[in-house]
């Protein structure tokens, strides 16, 4: 009995289903990547903002040191 | 027990006040039977082989659409959380709601049987048929009431509820259609359909009552 084309179709379906699984997995990985990218951006933003804040307080402290001799307080992080 | 009755009274009052929803379900059921009559030309042939399927698909769809709104009003008005915080066991809340849905649906179903009796000249208001309809209603309303707790996600629920409920209700649909057919004198095979219907009703009501507290827990 020659029904090789059905055997071929069956195996094709099997591999296609595994491909669908890989696509689902890739979708998950992709959204994770985006999510982590967003988290990183926010981290960078908040550290930059903190750095600017620190520079400002440090400058203010040195002015005060120049004006009066006051011990500068340790910059808060 | 008394808590269940109190909840049942509240839910029946709510169903009465909100009767437009149930009237919509009843008119949906009536129009569905008319649509089937046109689609399958039920007037021209012996209606009995098709009638059980027509009736039960109508019951199930009407039940799913009407029962799907079980907790909608409470969720919208925020009284659902209040009810959960009240010193009432969650299973009492469940039983009250399920019983009120069942009563309302049985009214709709008997009205539909009456309509079909007139339309198709087949006696449908018989004791064993009403018993089959009642047991079947217990079976599917238990599950649709449980599934209608898909919270405040109203849009998702309207689409999802039929997709969630109908595959679970396959055994009930088969058993109910065969049992109804048997009571109309159709050949239904030797399988104990009524027993399966009773087993399904017990399984779904006990399972749903046990699982309901876990779904609604905050």
């Amino acid at each position: 009995m020659d029904n090789l084309q059905f055997l071929f179709a069956g195996f094709a379906v099997f591999w296609a289903a595994l491909l669908v699984y890989l696509l689902i997995l890739q979708g998950r990985v992709h959204s994770l990547e985006r999510e982590i990218g967003r988290l990183e951006e926010r981290l960078v933003e908040s550290t930059e903002a903190a750095d600017r804040g620190n520079e400002a307080t440090a400058a203010g402290a040195s002015e005060r040191v120049a004006g009066r001799t006051v011990e500068p307080s340790a910059p808060t992080t | 027990m008394s808590a269940t009755l109190a909840v049942l009274r509240k839910d029946l009052r709510l169903a009465w006040r909100d009767r437009s929803g149930w009237l919509a379900a009843a008119s949906f059921a009536a129009i569905s039977v008319l649509t089937y009559s046109f689609a399958f030309d039920l007037a021209a042939q012996d209606v009995r082989p098709l009638l059980p399927g027509v009736l039960w698909t109508t019951f199930l769809f009407a039940g799913i659409f009407a029962g799907g709104q079980s907790f909608q009003r409470e969720a919208e008005q925020g009284t659902f959380d209040a009810m959960l915080m009240a010193p009432v066991p969650a299973s009492a809340i469940y039983f009250g709601k399920a019983l009120s849905n069942m009563l309302a649906l049985i009214v709709v179903e008997v009205a539909l049987l009456l309509l079909a009796t007139i339309l198709f000249d087949t006696t449908l208001i018989t004791a064993d048929l009403i018993l089959i309809v009642a047991v079947g209603t217990v079976g599917y309303v238990s599950l649709t009431t449980l599934l209608s707790t898909l919270g405040s996600r109203a849009r998702a629920r309207a689409v999802l509820l039929p997709a969630l409920a109908l595959p679970l209700l396959v055994p009930l649909l088969i058993a109910a259609v065969r049992a109804t057919g048997a009571s109309l004198g159709e050949p239904a095979g030797t399988a104990p359909w009524t027993l399966l219907l009773v087993v399904f009703a017990l399984w779904s009501s006990v399972g749903a009552a046990l699982l309901f507290p876990m779904v609604v827990e905050r």
């Binding site: 069956g10 379906v13 699984y21 | -």
Partner: protein
Amino acid sequence: MNVPRALTAAVHGVYGLRWLVLPPATAIAMFALLVGAVIAAPREIVEGEVQRLMYIHVPSALMTYLAFGITFVSSLIVLWKRDMRWDAAARASATVGVIFTAITLATGAIWGKPIWGVYWAWDARLTTTLVLFLIFSAYLLARAVAGPNDEQVARYAAVFAVIGALDIPLIHMSVSWWRTLHPQPIVFRPLDGPALPDEMLLVLMIGFGAIFLLVLWMTSLLTDAERLAQRTEALRARLDREDRG
């Protein structure tokens, strides 16, 4: 050290080995299965070449139950322990189960056309598998309406999975009373042993092992992805709270 904790530790230990064991074992088993199914196994006299689909169809059908079994147990643990980690396992195993149910249905239909003359027949097993496919597709839909850390929807989905799994015996009973064309089981026959020739039986056994490993690997991979999604989501929620507070 009490027994549950020892058990948990053992499970964690075995689970930790998954990257070491599963990829090579699955690769070897799948290679053996494909060589066995396509080349090594003898050609069936009556059914011809298409019979070779059995070596993926039957194991896929059985391992569907493994996947949905994991979904069932994980859902019970979600309800019992309120541990969202098991929700990740439930979602992953349900996805893999749905994929293998689809494989089972499709390979069965493709085999059915030349052998039965029709792609689909309303036989009890076929119908049960189809309903199973619908139930767990609906599970995935219901779970997908909310984010990975929504405990309310996770519990709802878990309840649905438990009900769906417990419904399987009733579905099977009702549809087998309703219709019964599928070849009877030929491997797990209680009395006179399997009815397959030895070479075919060997390839089929390799198939069970290979698909078993494949399902486990696919499930654990997807579980890890879902788990990572939960963790990043939780991290973002925490950052949001800190920004506001």
